[in-house]
């Protein structure tokens, strides 16, 4: 390969790396450095008693939490299902050791709705409250029959007790939240620079080898890409053209299909899950679009080698081109089906933020993962035709094992391992966080998804490479 061409390609790759690293820093923003603290106290779930806040009653909750940057505490209220409450409710948050008042606020009892959660916020996050004993005090000046109540739950262990109110073995319906620092995120630029250094060293080695007339993996890949670019384009165009060739609506199906599936599933499941999930139509559609792509791409790759038997036995073309082109045409479909996703999201009130761009990362991971699995399946299909039937069953299990139309919270704790080892769950969940919640997932999520995708690609291409010389004898 010519030195000047190689220099140009290396410069482009390095440029893209720098751009991606800088863009990621700004797109990920706050979530790069902080994540919801592991020490956060969640609202209890089981109600055992209501405590009416009449004049003179004070409910105190002592607590502590290992939160590095404390932000707020919240209390849930009940109204006794009246809208005639009067008076004011005072919430105070103080340190138990020094008596310092961290925050206090009064609320109009009449304005409190049933089940409303009221919060005290520090304004600026504080770092000196890590595991410090604190008190949350709620009182009111209402008359009996016109007062709101706090809710008590069974004690959860730890150093929480409700004072000044029987029974002692209860805890208030409250939550505490804050953030922890992310070590890797705090040192982001060191990691970025380290990555750049490794990349630069690698390219230096590639360049020097090339200058000595040797070819390595990188040079081979790039020259194959150049040589077979036209063929790849033709094969992708063929897949794409023939897919809708004789249908009336043609390419419109690429975005009608996920839309119709979404509508059907929406009507079937909305009564069950709608209340749990914000933006349920968009939530559904992200799952459907991702899983559709995954099953279509893998299904297409599966038959890519056996289906092109006529070519494989006649002309020499690197064999990975067959699964690769199938994957690329599925990717075009994925791109098209993002259009209805954007439309539906806007319709259901999703606010797109800069983080939505980050969802592309997780789709790229999904694509790479599908390529790896597709190569594995296509190679296996050559030797065992049972693969296609096994895959049909497997992909169905996979579909039900992935939270596409249901929230992941319905999976009981003891089965959550199934989700944790399911790469699709990670890809889809994080894409949803980016789009629906408008924030970036924590940095760990990026690493996990990368490892899943790269691992699958490595395994898939390794097996494909090992077996490809024998394809001819079996197709």
């Amino acid at each position: 390969m010519k030195g000047s061409t190689l220099r140009k390609i290396i410069a482009i790759v390095m440029g893209v790396y720098v751009l991606a690293v800088v863009a990621f820093y700004f797109l990920a923003g706050h979530q790069l450095r902080f994540r919801n603290s592991r020490g956060n106290i969640a609202m209890p779930e089981q109600v055992i008693q209501y405590a009416e806040l009449t004049d003179g009653v004070t409910v105190e909750q002592s607590f502590f939490a290992p939160i590095q940057r404390f932000e707020s505490v919240s209390v849930k209220f009940a109204t006794g299902v009246r809208d005639t409450n009067e008076g004011t409710v005072l919430m105070e948050w103080l340190r138990a050791d020094t008596g310092e008042t961290l925050a206090r606020e009064t609320f109009d009892a009449a304005a409190i709705a049933e089940g409303e959660v009221l919060s005290l916020s520090l304004g600026e996050a504080r770092e000196d409250l890590y595991n410090v004993p604190m008190l949350l005090r709620v009182s009111a000046d209402s008359e009996e029959g016109k007062c709101v109540s706090v809710i008590l739950a069974a004690k959860r262990g730890g150093d929480e007790t409700v004072l000044n109110l029987r029974p002692d073995d209860a805890t208030l319906f409250f939550s505490a939240s804050g953030e922890d620092y992310i070590w890797s995120g705090m040192h982001y630029w060191y990691f970025a620079a380290g990555g750049a250094l490794l990349l630069a060293l690698y390219f230096l080695a590639v360049y020097l080898r090339n200058a000595r007339g040797k070819t390595g993996f990188f040079v081979k890949t790039v020259s194959a890409m150049q040589k077979y670019r036209f063929l790849i384009r033709q094969l992708v165009a063929r897949d794409f053209k023939t897919k809708y060739k004789r249908s009336v609506l043609g390419v419109l199906w690429s975005f009608l299909n996920p839309l119709l599936m979404m509508v059907v599933q929406y009507f079937v499941f909305s009564t069950i899950f709608k209340s749990d999930i914000r933006f349920y139509p968009a939530y559904l559609l992200i799952g459907i679009v991702s899983f559709n792509f995954f099953s279509e791409a893998c299904g297409m790759c599966l038959t890519s080698v056996t289906g092109n038997a006529a070519l494989i036995t006649k002309v020499y073309v690197p064999k990975y081109i067959y699964p690769l082109t199938r994957l690329m045409s599925s990717t075009i479909n994925l791109g098209i089906s993002l259009i209805p996703l954007i439309i539906v999201s806007l319709f259901t009130g999703v606010r797109f933020t800069q983080a939505a761009i980050l969802s592309l990362y997780f789709w790229v991971c999904l694509i790479v993962f599908s390529l790896g699995l597709g190569m594995l399946l296509s190679a296996s299909m050559v030797f065992f035709r049972d693969t296609q039937f096994l895959w049909n069953v497997l992909s169905m299990i996979w579909m039900y094992g992935t939270p596409i139309f249901y929230p992941d919270s319905i999976i009981p704790e003891r089965f959550r391992i199934i989700l944790r080892v399911n790469p699709l769950f990670h890809f889809i969940k994080n894409a949803r966080v980016c789009i629906l919640e408008g924030i970036s997932p924590e940095p760990k999520a990026y690493v996990v998804c990368f490892l899943f995708a790269a691992g699958m690609l490595l395994v898939g291409s390794f097996i494909f490479r090992k077996t490809q010389d024998r394809f001819l004898l079996y197709v």
């Binding site: 033709q234 165009a237 063929r238 060739k245 036995t313 006649k314 002309v315 049972d386 001819l472």
Partner: protein, 244 residues
């Protein structure tokens, strides 16, 4: 005469693991493996075949069915890797093993020209440049914009030959193709072949038609049961083959 070696086949042996019957399902594989009945029969398709072809030569391959001709061609075009030995070919190999194997029936003639051209390794500018020439040679006229599933087999063969022969490949592999189309097209393709050969293309030619071999080839290799039976001048080998 130039003596640049274009194809160098050195001591090539090709063995296939032939299962007594192909095991294509997992269940079969597992049950057989468990019963220890997963044995392979070795089948030697080629044994210690060596020869070289010089630039500009038209080299004939003859032999009975199953003698290993097609296997040898596949090894030379890089589709198969030999079990032993090596086959090196310099320059781009355009295989005309079976015409139009890369065609897609749902695409039009025009789209198929580009698809098939890409499969044969032509570049995009080259194809665009020669597109008119290909269409003209195929005599398809207005049918070129019709999906080829509507073509007759003669039309398909004409299109395929036109795409494959438009290029001036360095090595052309011809496997029984001069029998495509009607008499006039056969004549035309024969002329095109002769033209290619005189243009410095190295041709590997496989045919059962000894007259054709005598007419077109300089040297001929006779394969018999995977071994080289005879290699030499066309006339000499053809006579021996006909006499055997």
């Amino acid at each position: 005469m130039e003596t640049e070696t274009m194809i160098e086949v050195r001591d090539v042996t090709m063995r296939f693991h032939m299962n007594a019957d192909k095991v294509l399902s997992l269940k079969e594989f597992v049950t057989r493996a468990l019963r220890g009945k997963l044995k392979f029969e070795e089948f030697t398709a080629l044994e210690n075949v060596s020869f070289s072809v010089q630039k500009g030569e038209t080299f004939g391959l003859i032999g009975h069915n199953g003698a290993g001709k097609s296997t040898l061609l596949k090894i030379i075009s890089g589709i198969l890797k030999p079990t032993k030995g090596s086959a090196v070919s310099r320059g781009n190999v355009v295989p005309m093993l079976e015409l139009g194997s890369g065609f897609d029936m749902d695409l039009t003639g025009r789209e198929n020209i580009f698809l098939n051209g890409a499969i044969l390794g032509y570049s995009e500018p080259f194809l665009k440049d020669r597109y008119e020439e290909i269409v003209a040679f195929s005599e398809l006229g207005a049918f070129i914009e019709t999906p080829i599933r509507n073509y007759s087999s003669g039309m398909l063969a004409r299109l395929a030959f036109s795409v494959a022969s438009v290029v001036n490949p360095e090595i052309l592999i011809v496997d029984e193709i001069l029998s495509v189309g009607d008499a006039s097209f056969q004549e035309k393709s024969r002329r095109r072949m002769t033209e290619l050969m005189s243009g410095g293309t190295t041709v590997l030619f496989v045919s059962h038609n000894l007259d054709q071999i005598r007419e077109m080839c300089g040297r001929v290799l006779w394969l018999d049961g995977g071994k080289v039976r005879m290699i030499g001048g066309a006339e000499e080998v053809c006579n021996a083959y006909a006499g055997a």
